[in-house]
């Protein structure tokens, strides 16, 4: 599956630059030690944007749950229907979720609660994004 190309913006550029280097970084308020994803201008706990830093993650997570997409608005993904779409909880903080197509897992054969490891996948314009593989 080749995802649409991604053009980073100021708020999310460190996330995408790290992805190109094979690292998963998540925004963290160092004053609250609170992770944020998607990136925000200010911390959702203390309200300050002064202490937002990018923190490297282990790249390990667990599958929260999933759906199987049969009807998708994105034109470039239609040839891959049906496909898994899972929400991944980061091991560092299960309140932080990231989407995954779970490459390699047949549609609807998703091990809910199972462990996953981040990989980085090139999109249509070469920009890499995090994806997740089931750890066997």
């Amino acid at each position: 599956m080749v995802k649409q190309g991604v053009v980073p913006e100021d708020l999310n550029r460190p996330f995408f630059e790290a992805a190109n280097e094979g690292r998963l970084v998540i925004q963290n308020c160092s004053a609250c030690d609170r992770l944020h994803f998607p990136p925000r201008a200010a911390c959702d706990r203390c309200g300050s944007g002064d202490n937002m830093e990018w923190k490297q993650m282990s790249g390990r997570g667990k599958i929260y749950n999933y759906g199987v997409v049969y009807d998708c608005p994105v034109a470039s993904l239609k040839e891959d229907l049906p496909f898994n779409l899972a929400a991944i909880m980061l091991d560092e903080d299960p309140g932080i979720l990231m989407y995954s197509h779970l490459p390699g897992v047949p549609a609807d054969e998703v091990p809910v609660g199972g462990a996953v490891q981040v990989i980085f996948e090139a999109t249509a314009n070469g920009q890499k994004v995090p994806e997740w593989q089931v750890v066997t």
Partner: protein, 443 residues
């Protein structure tokens, strides 16, 4: 006259506010609906503007007031079901010029302003208060109830109109492009991963089934009941255009959109408008219909921590919404005769009613409850309006049904297993919506 969006101060969105200061002092006394259509056919008389005028005039007549007695108008300016007017297509000027236009040619065709309504309803000679509400009738009701309670208007119209153009929403634009901005790629809702509109709810439903040991098949009685109630709603889309019962087999064999959500778990976008007339409890005594008193309004402002709301976040928010609803109305769950919480997507109705603790339900109980008698003839009716699943996406059938049931004019849909005295309606989302408590008596 410049019309403002309602300020946040008009909503009751936190716990601990006590009983609503206008409890029982505002009433709904008029209902007006336009006919429904699947899509706009391009004629002036079927435009969202025309449907809205029709609904407003019907509501005024229903209340038995003269138009010059109307002094307030609250409406939702956005009328789209998802598709906006295509930039490369000219606005049909014959339609625009069939009405008294404003400076914006999309007015009455692809949006509604208060100015356009006033210009095209010359009989409204005394409207001094106008206000916009975002999104849904549920929000407009809350704003109008607060406005009448606060004395900003005495006889206030409340309006929501919908236009539905050709094409499938969200399939054009950015979904068809080769590149997307980074914020879109990892934003909640529409993302690089191709999540359809119902995905967030489907994911919560999947987690609900995992957590409580339930399954999608258990939704079938709810879906059947909703369509049945919808077919008893003569104002609704299915009753007017496709009077077909939905069997459990039909439902369960339907194609998946995002499993565990199938086609029927999504409501169908339509064109329709509805209007209500709200007034003070004192004035309501002189009007044509039995007043339906508003005991409280409450709003939810849930915020997901990350990319999509989890089941756990939804359950916490709906429980808080339930507490707000009861606190401001000065009632408990035991006082509810029936419920009309939102259902489009079908798979979150159970979050709303579990949050309400309707009939003593706790989280995880609703799908078992759906296997019992949930009909309008039974003691535990579920969604007597049939909701959006039963009548198409208007997000207002629930409110109309609460009023009609309490007024004793719900026709073939009339509740017979309970005496309709106090009900709650509202939505849309479990993580964000507006809710109203309706009552046969002011106290």
């Amino acid at each position: 006259m410049t019309t403002q969006m309602a300020p946040e101060s008009m909503y009751r969105s936190t716990e601990g506010l006590g009983v609503w200061e206008h409890r029982g002092k505002v009433a709904s006394v008029g209902i007006g609906h336009s006919p429904t259509a699947r899509r706009w056919d391009g004629r002036a008389e079927t435009s969202v503007g025309a449907l809205s005028i029709q609904a407003l005039r019907t509501a005024i007549a229903d209340a038995g007031v003269s138009p010059d007695q109307v002094d307030g108008l609250v409406l939702v300016p956005v009328t789209t079901t998802g598709a906006h007017w295509p930039e490369d297509q000219p606005v049909p000027m014959d339609v625009v010029n069939a009405f008294n236009p404003t400076d914006d040619p999309l007015d009455g065709v692809g949006q509604l302003s208060a100015e356009w309504i006033i210009k095209n309803m010359p009989e409204l000679t005394n409207v001094k208060f106008t206000m916009y509400a975002p999104g849904c009738m549920s929000a407009a009701i809350v704003v109008a109830a607060q406005a009448v309670g606060d004395g900003l208007a005495s006889n206030c119209l409340v309006l929501k109109g919908w236009h539905n153009l050709e094409g499938r929403y969200n399939h054009g634009g950015i979904s068809a492009s080769d590149e997307v901005p980074g914020s879109f790629a990892i934003s909640p809702g529409r993302t690089l991963w191709g999540a359809p509109g119902c995905f967030g709810t489907a994911l919560q439903f999947a987690q609900y089934c995992t957590k409580y040991g339930k399954n999608h098949d258990m939704m079938a009685p709810f879906m059947q009941n909703s369509r049945r109630n919808g077919l008893l709603f003569p104002e609704g889309y299915w009753a007017q255009h496709r009077p077909e019962q939905l069997t459990p087999e039909d439902y369960l064999s339907s194609r998946w959109i995002a499993k565990p959500a199938n086609l029927f778990d999504n409501d169908i976008p339509i064109m329709v408008a509805a209007a209500y007339l709200f007034t003070t409890a004192d004035r309501a005594q002189d009007m044509a219909q039995k007043p339906v008193y508003i005991l409280n309004h409450a709003s939810s402002r849930g915020v997901a921590r990350s990319i999509t709301p989890t089941l756990e976040e939804v359950e916490a928010e709906t429980a808080a919404t339930g507490r707000k609803i009861y606190e401001g109305a000065g009632i408990t769950a035991d006082d509810l005769s029936f419920e009309n919480m939102y259902d489009g997507f079908a798979q979150f109705h159970q979050f709303h009613i579990e949050g309400l603790r309707y009939r003593g339900m706790q989280p995880g109980d609703a799908l078992d409850f759906y296997q019992t008698d949930i009909s309008i003839e039974g003691p535990n009716p579920i969604l007597s309006s049939g909701g959006n699943i039963g009548s198409g996406r208007s997000r207002f059938w629930m409110h109309t049904d609460c009023m009609q049931q309490i007024q004793g004019r719900a026709g073939a849909r009339s509740l017979t297993g309970v005496k309709p005295e106090i009900a709650v309606s509202g939505g849309p989302m479990p993580m964000g919506g507006n809710f109203t408590v309706w009552s046969a008596t002011p106290d």
